[in-house]
């Protein structure tokens, strides 16, 4: 919004000007702008004199949307349309290329993390004097959890996770970004089994998107959703927009109605990590082979 930008520039000027020179500075600023802007500038000055333009000159909000794997993430464009407010909220879809399931399960995650880190730093550089809000889905939540630990220079004002695969034991209290349950939301789909699958199938993932974090620093919000059911206009407007604009955490009606998790989620949630079992089996197999090999070699050595 041009009006908002204009007021922000006026405030920056007046803040940087000694009070005894403020009237002259204001007149000069006004003269440098077209007649159409004068009424707004006059009103802006009235509020500045009253000490109220500080509230008016809200910082620009930059919303970074980070997608998951195996997707072209067309929800990002849909979200941008629903969430952007001209002059107030800039929505930036952030990507790291198509991530297949092998990369997801394997150890090759650094490229995606570095790419997103670089994008967030660039957003902060482009939009200086702005607040960064991150909305991350699925593998995007894992990426952001790594960035929170490794890149304290990226200051995230508010964070919203959905379909999160961050481990439930993630240490929110040890981050340089001091999140609270007013600034960090974890949206849980009670029909979402993928976070549980992610935990049992590979290293470093967790099922917070199926069960919630249950910690003081994160507000878990439950929905009768599957893994990717968050991306509707209605959801964006009812739940995401108030959080982005004002930090309002709108309660979900499903919070109190949600049933106990499905048998599949419960069973998988209790299963130890598959990769742990595979490694144990592999270690056992190698041990057995070595044992038999040494037994077979013994008569030759003795003879």
């Amino acid at each position: 919004m041009a009006e908002h930008d204009l007021l922000r520039r006026l405030k920056s000027l007046l803040d940087a000007t000694p009070p005894t020179e403020a009237l002259a500075a204001f007149r000069g600023f006004k003269a440098a702008h077209p007649q159409n802007d004068h009424a707004l500038l006059d009103a802006g000055f009235d509020l500045f004199a009253l000490g109220q333009l500080a509230v008016a000159a809200e910082r620009l909000i930059v919303v970074a949307l980070i997608h998951g794997i195996r997707t072209a993430a067309n929800w990002q464009e849909k979200a941008r349309e629903a969430l952007a407010v001209e002059g107030k909220v800039v929505v930036a879809p952030v990507g790291y290329g198509y991530q297949d399931v092998f990369r997801f399960l394997g150890p090759w995650r650094k490229g995606a993390i570095d790419r997103v880190k670089q994008e967030l730093r660039d957003l902060q550089r482009i939009h200086t004097d702005s607040d960064l809000v991150v909305m991350a889905h699925s593998f995007g939540t894992f990426i952001i959890s790594k960035i929170l630990k490794d890149a304290p220079d990226i200051r995230i004002k508010r964070l919203l996770l959905c379909g999160s695969i961050i481990p439930i034991a993630f240490r929110w209290d040890s981050l340089s970004n001091e999140f609270t349950n007013k600034t960090c939301i974890n949206e849980v789909g009670t029909r979402d089994i993928w976070p549980v699958f992610a935990r049992v199938a590979s290293f470093g993932y967790g099922e917070s998107g199926s069960f919630g974090f249950k910690t003081a620093r994160v507000s878990d919000r439950f929905f009768d959703y599957g893994h990717s059911d968050f991306f509707t206009d209605d959801h964006f407007k009812t739940f995401w927009k108030p959080f982005i604009l004002t930090g309002t955490v709108v309660a979900s009606p499903w919070d109190s109605k949600r049933p106990t998790p499905s048998w599949l989620v419960s069973v998988l949630g209790g299963v130890p990590m598959v990769k742990g079992l595979v490694m144990l089996l592999a270690a056992g197999l190698i041990g057995t082979l070595l044992y038999w090999a040494s037994r077979a070699a013994l008569p030759f050595i003795a003879g």
Binding site: M1, L23, A43, L53, A56
Partner: protein, 122 residues
């Protein structure tokens, strides 16, 4: 009375429609009670009446009301000793330095010395 005047602005600034409608109703009530000429609205009172949530929205609203001559700005220069020293129609007319007759000194005018109120153009 005011509602009719406002309909033109509302069509030009639909994003401020709700706020403008509330201000129109407030002014209509004041007119009915014949206290319009006594109204001196400060920005915070306009914010309360219009229920706008941010001061940038408030600035846009005030700009609409003054540019459409529904409200007229009165800028009062106040003495640090308390009380008004002079009144002007615009910040443009306020001198950088003026005589503060309440203290009998020349004063450098700063934004903190100004108080703006708006009166209804009848």
């Amino acid at each position: 009375m005011f509602s009719a005047k406002f309909s033109n602005i509302i069509s030009r600034a639909p994003s401020s429609a709700q706020a403008l409608d509330l201000v129109a109703k407030y002014l209509d009530r004041a007119a009915e009670q014949k206290r319009l000429h006594r109204l001196r609205l400060d920005p915070m009172l306009i914010q309360q009446i219009s229920k706008v949530s941010t001061s940038s929205e408030l600035a846009v609203l005030i700009a609409l009301l003054t540019s459409e001559h529904i409200l007229r700005r009165v800028v009062v220069v106040e003495s640090p000793a308390g009380g008004g020293v002079a009144e002007y129609d615009s910040v443009d007319d306020v001198p950088d330095r003026l005589h503060d007759h309440l203290r009998d000194v020349q004063m450098d005018v700063t934004p903190g010395d100004l108080r703006t109120v708006y009166v209804a153009n009848t």
